[in-house]
């Protein structure tokens, strides 16, 4: 299957209007440029009318004004590392990139917090405050590449969100440009801003409400002590039991990640971190706090691991070893390419007490569809990432992948899970929304969205199902929006 972008370029004069604001170099409307901006980190492909590289709030506002007058759809884009197609433009939409808005504007070590532009990369923000003994807590696996703007849009999570909470717990305020170009400031460093608290609505808005042009983010003091452990298990079941029992003993580790044997093999191939290649599963557990606290937590975690039947306990001896173990974990998605050229995954969340049974169910689904599935996920909060490895050039295999994806989502919902833990709904899970919400719920969400975007121009046809055919797979060919392929 090959996708040819539709050649319905924007109306004459539109690019010229954008060029009057941004200059020639920052308005990209060549055919190859449009092909490149039609994708993000997901497997969906859309069609981009023009890509804009804005540098200031004023430029964003002026460009949004043009789109408003012309009635053009707009898709905001950060680093484009998202996995659910949130930054994939449909119908020749305008892609508004904030990748050049990457200044850390102000650091207040007293709160502590920082005002940053949306293009600042997650890990660059931490690097900018390291000298103050601070860091930005949410740490998606793509943290070296993903932007704060994208993190805010998807309400991103990460391994360390088990104890510290996801993005919404770390955003104190935002500046947002509304679809008509109006600039709005919401919240700020004050603990309880007056009026309705809209921050929780904007965070996770997935680009459907406006373009966030500044964020005030909470910074977190670096823990005085940290310890990272690797437990090696002969069965996934034993690893799953260990996760439940550690937390049941009152220890909430900073992070608790599970990798299964196929994932271990792929990650080890890239990093050479010394992961045990004969293990059925490993748990990467990190505890932090005061030195005494860390000792106590480590003792309990190791006790529980032994009781659950761990074959080996490895404790990182120094910062270098700790960094290597985390590199192995955070390279997981890319490392899958060593097995097959593409991957597909859902980041459903299930109650952690149901982990063992859902892992068995996922294995059975993969076997039924004759597919290879690899697991690496935030076990502590039950946030799954079953990666199905495949080759998109094989159309029959792609069909089986989509069917298996749907079965996995349904299995998760059936044990009391939710659709997504951190990646967002985007395009990929849009038509699954009906599995979690009734008509009334969806209608209420659509109205809240319209309060910000009455004309429905912001990231159109994302997040909420377009038709009443809820529950139908987005990647089923019949319900594919025109201009999309997988």
């Amino acid at each position: 299957m090959v996708y040819i972008p539709r050649m319905t370029t924007l109306a004459p004069g539109v690019a010229a209007e954008f060029r009057a604001i941004l200059g020639d170099d920052r308005v990209l409307d060549g055919s190859t440029e449009r092909i490149i901006y039609a994708r993000d980190g997901s497997i969906a492909d859309g069609s981009c009318g023009v890509a804009l590289l804005c540098e200031t709030t004023a430029e964003v506002s002026a460009c949004m004004g043009v789109a408003h007058r012309r009635g053009l759809p707009v898709v905001p884009r950060g680093s484009g590392t998202g996995l659910c197609g949130g930054a994939v433009p449909l119908d020749d939409a305008v892609v508004l990139s904030v990748a050049r808005m990457r200044r850390v504007l102000e650091i207040d070590p007293a709160v502590p917090c920082a005002w940053v532009e949306p293009g600042v990369l997650n890990l660059d923000l931490t690097a900018a405050v390291t000298h103050l003994g601070l860091h930005y807590a949410p740490d998606p696996s793509s943290q070296a590449a993903c932007s704060i703007g994208g993190n805010v849009a998807t309400n991103a999570g990460g391994p360390h969100c088990l104890a510290s909470g996801v993005t919404v717990q770390h955003v104190l305020g935002v500046e947002i440009v509304l679809p008509d170009g109006e600039v709005l400031a919401i919240g700020g460093p004050a603990p309880d801003p007056p009026g309705y608290d809209l921050r929780g609505f904007i965070v996770g808005g997935e680009g459907t409400l406006g373009v966030v042009t500044k964020a005030c983010v909470r910074l977190t003091p670096n823990p005085p002590a940290v310890k990272t452990m690797l437990f090696d298990f002969a069965s996934t079941r034993a690893a799953g039991t260990c996760v439940v029992d550690v937390i049941a003993r009152g220890v909430v580790p900073a992070a608790m990640e599970l990798m299964d044997s196929r994932m271990i093999e792929a990650c080890e191939g890239f990093t050479g971190a010394g992961l045990p290649l004969d293990a059925a599963a490993v748990l990467l557990v990190e505890v932090d706090g005061t030195p005494a606290d860390v000792e106590a937590q480590t003792g309990i975690a190791v006790d529980v691991a032994r009781a659950s039947g761990t074959r080996d306990v490895r404790i990182a001896a120094d910062e270098a070893e700790r960094a290597l173990l985390w590199k192995a974990r955070k390279s997981a998605f890319g490392a899958v390419a060593r097995v097959a050229p593409n991957y597909y995954l859902h980041d459903c969340v299930v109650p952690r007490t149901r982990l063992v049974e859902i892992l068995d169910a996922i294995a059975a689904i993969a076997a039924r569809h004759d597919l290879l599935v690899m697991n690496v996920f935030h076990a502590g909060d039950g946030n799954l990432h079953p990666l199905i490895a495949f080759d998109r050039r094989d159309a029959a295999q792609v069909e089986r992948v989509m069917a298996a994806g749907r079965d996995i989502v349904e299995a998760c919902i059936a044990v009391g899970g939710v659709l997504t833990g951190e990646h967002g709904i985007g395009l990929e899970k849009r038509d699954y929304m009906g599995l979690s919400f009734g008509e009334l719920d969806l209608d209420a969400q659509a109205r809240a969205r319209r309060a910000f975007d009455p004309a429905g121009r912001m990231n159109p046809r994302k997040v909420l199902p377009v038709t009443s055919r809820c529950g139908e797979a987005i990647l089923d060919e019949n319900s594919l929006p025109p201009g999309t392929w997988v």
Binding site: T32, E33, A99, G119, P341
Partner: protein, 412 residues
Amino acid sequence: MDASTTSGGARWLPGAPAPAEDDIVKCVACGLCLPHCPTFRLTGRETAAPRGRVAAMRAVQEGRAGVDGAFAAMMDECLACRACETACPSGVPYGRMIEAARAQVEVTRPVRVRGLRGLALGQVMSRTWAMRAMAVGLGVTQALRIDRLLPERMTAGAPRVSLPRLARRMPVRLGSGPVAAVLRGCVMDVAFRPVQEATMRAVAACGHTAVMPDGGCCGALAAHYGHPQAARRMARARIAEFEALGAEAVVVNSAGCSAHMKQWGHLLADDPAWAGRAHAMAARVRDVLELDVPSEATTTRPVAVHDACHHVNGQGIRAETRRMVAASGARPVEIPDDGRCCGAAGMYSVLQPEMSAELRLSKARAIAASGADTVACANPGCAAQIAAGLREIGADVDVRHPVELLRPRERT
């Protein structure tokens, strides 16, 4: 599905190698390369990022785009520093993909431009006498300061040529023991004579007879700039020469060359008469940094360490650079910029002067901020670029190859 969906064949041009489909599909578009790409860092533009360039290659492969001006501009803008390759968890072999993409682009250039580039990369560089003649010309213009009449953008990255050094005779055989060939090279031969001599001494100190044959260029630049035919010709000539010497090892003191020569097996894989010989010779190639040279301490001062991209990314040489600096007694100091490319990148400083100048200045400022009065740099392009940058910001920092810092002694 849309009616516009059709299947189309790849639109690569005949007459030049093309990026392999199996390499292209390895990219899962995760974006982890973005922060490591110097041109993406400067522009924030996806078309200046490895992921975007691979997407452009994919578009040609799938028949959705051609090898046109836009494609050429994107490939030309790449430094080919291969930092993305090191960062890539999927193992996308970007280095050989960009080389092939550039060979494609070269086919589209006007005959005159292509001919001129072919002449410079394939004919001039491969002839030692021609390089020397050029160097004398450059040295004279620099001595008479005529070069200052040319636009800054053309001269900033050019190495300084010393005429007296060029006239002096070089030792071409030194030491005793099994023979190790030392690559004479092209630019190194005319502009970095002290490094050549220091390399000979280092090889001899390691218990080898260091022999420098007459032949020049290894073909790296020709390969990087879309002239694989010329690169293969030069590789064959060098291999035959090293074989005739009975060389047990081939020692190279320029990062771009050692990285390229280690890939000779891949370059000549389709040439049945040479594939085996190329593979065997590539296995004998050592960058001089990889030698553990016994040395007296010559200094105790701090020396900033610049990593050439083709050391770190092509060959995984990083600790070795620091080891050699430390062997001289100096204290290796890190340059506070995450090892970003200096913008020299072969002919990049001439072909993409704006981007190159930004990278040059930021590298020079970072070196100055390190507080060291010497920077160790093991690649001729980087050395010339960094020296120019330091002159531009008025920083008094000496640029030296790590091997120059050594005072080799006999191994006991």
